[in-house]
Symmetry: C2
Subunit: 101 residues, 2 copies
């Protein structure tokens, strides 16, 4: 059973290559989180938003990461973040080639 964490927040930049440079170390750390499977990094320069879609092995692992992420948002003064936890419906996701690993 996979759990998905959906995060988005207002973001004035950097975007693209500059964003990648700025967050490379953070990405390496996230890849080491307990129960972490993968993360896609999202960005929209037009709407000035950024975020991520994370997959975790268990609900507990997902919730622990969300709690850590909330603290990071507070620390960096990021306001207006949306963070949602979902179970993945694996039967339907298999029909649509959804990546569960």
């Amino acid at each position: 059973m996979a759990y998905l964490v959906q995060v988005d927040f207002p973001h004035e930049g950097p975007f693209g290559d500059e964003m990648a440079t700025a967050f490379t170390d953070l990405a390496k750390n996230i890849a080491q989180e307990k129960g972490f499977i993968w993360k896609l990094w999202t960005e929209n320069e037009e709407t000035k938003e950024s975020g991520g879609i994370y997959l975790f092995d268990t609900k507990e692992d997902a919730e622990n990461y969300m709690e850590k992420n909330r603290k990071n948002f507070d620390e960096f003064g990021i306001k207006g973040a949306s963070m949602k936890l979902f179970k993945v419906n694996e039967q339907l996701s298999q029909i649509t080639q959804g990546p569960l690993k």
Copy 2:
């Protein structure tokens, strides 16, 4: 370059296996959309929400699907849906094993 569509909406059910049965045909249709790469189906029985994370080849393919999805929400009377389009930051996503295919 991959584009991600992030959708969530209030959903009273069905969830789990019943949701899978109810939406199997829809899933088969979605898998045929132009430029479609994959979709993960999301659900949260506690918060009464459902949604999906979609990956598309191009921005145009993603936007065309979003337009179709908006019409479906109207047709089915689904209110309060959130639908966001993002570019995937591929450099960061590769560090965190994000599935780009």
